[in-house]
């Protein structure tokens, strides 16, 4: 599955393997520019209460990023238990006229934003039974990642490192076990800090990468978005091209050893 070139999620094919968030930007204009530079087709959005008294004449996020042009992926960021998460995504489905593809994340606490796995398993089961196509943020525990696939999630999205930390991939070995065990797409979600982090995720064989802060909080978000687009493509191509084997202390000349001039 992870060998195929096109990314297929819930039966729909995407040419871009980079998914991006829409938070933390200076304004909607920058958000739009960065997202377009990233080439992302799937973009995450959060669901929040209307602020009573906010100016309704102001354009909204979806005016800038219409569902007609992007696959919106409503998430449950900020939900700390299964019930909140399920309520939030049911509201998202109503808001997006029956849209089924969602990102489930049940967080454990504010300090780490680490996944709460027991609640995540409960919410995933409820949402799948309710007809959602669930992409799920989870730890890099290969066993529970497999359980989420068995529950019927359409993609598992282990964290590379803490949300917003930019620490990169802290445990590639667990990701490799997940890739070995899970058949649905595996996307690295959270923790990417710079372009090479995304390349490394793809070189491991991941099917895609989801990020927000690494782009939004770069000094130049639009340029970083372009860097991330190339990084994901580059890492994918390197994975498919099959890297040379590492040779530990066995150098081999790149030029022929014969025919050197005599002395």
């Amino acid at each position: 599955m992870h060998e195929t070139t096109a990314l297929t999620i819930a039966g729909r094919i995407y040419s871009s393997r980079l998914l991006v968030g829409t938070g933390k930007y200076r304004d909607f204009a920058e958000t739009k520019l960065a997202i377009d530079a990233s080439g992302a087709q799937i973009i995450t959005v959060a669901i929040r209460r209307v602020n009573i008294g906010q100016d309704p004449t102001q354009p909204s996020l979806l005016d800038w990023l219409p569902p007609s042009q992007y696959t919106l992926l409503p998430n449950t960021a900020g939900c700390y238990n299964a019930i909140e998460a399920v309520r939030t995504l049911r509201l998202a489905r109503e808001l997006l006229d029956g849209h089924k593809l969602v990102k489930l994340e049940v967080l454990a606490d504010d300090a780490t934003l680490f996944p709460n796995m027991p609640e995540t398993l409960i919410a995933a089961k409820t949402l799948v039974d309710d007809g959602f196509d669930v992409m799920v943020y989870c730890t890099d525990d290969p066993i529970q990642a497999k359980t989420l696939e068995d529950i019927g999630c359409v993609a598992v999205m282990p964290l590379a490192s803490l949300i917003g930390s930019g620490m990169g991939i802290l445990n590639p070995w667990n990701l490799e076990i997940i890739l070995d065990r899970v058949s649905v797409p595996v996307l690295v979600d959270a923790g990417i800090g710079t372009a090479s982090d995304a390349s490394i995720a793809m070189e491991l064989g991941c099917d895609g990468v989801l990020m927000n802060t690494a782009i939004a909080k770069a000094r130049d978000p639009v340029l970083m978005a372009s860097a991330m687009k190339k990084a994901v493509e580059s890492g994918r191509e390197a994975f498919l091209a099959g890297r040379m084997p590492k040779k530990i202390y066995q150098a081999s000349a790149s030029s022929p050893r014969e025919g050197r001039i005599g002395t």
């Binding site: 938070g23 669901i47 009573i52 004449t57 909204s60 996020l61 979806l62 998430n75 109503e94």
Partner: protein, 72 residues
């Protein structure tokens, strides 16, 4: 005695009032959300947009009215 004819409700955690007999679409109109993307939950149950105009508001109703915002 005006409040006698008013319904006490909560919208997104804030207490407010509505005229008796009005339906949920009145709230959407007040919030100027007509034509925008939003979703409405009443007392924990989602009300489909198609039903807002036929759903009378009851005293004590708790509404959540949400939109999409930027998020990771």
């Amino acid at each position: 005695m005006l409040e006698f004819f008013m319904l006490n409700i909560t919208i997104n955690g804030q207490a407010t009032t509505q005229n008796t007999g009005s339906c949920v679409d009145a709230i959407i109109a007040n919030m100027q959300l007509v034509g925008k993307r939003y979703a409405v939950e009443r007392n924990g149950e989602i009300i489909p947009k198609s039903r807002l105009s036929e759903t009378p508001i009851a005293d004590g109703d708790k509404f959540e009215i949400v939109i999409a915002v930027g998020g990771g």
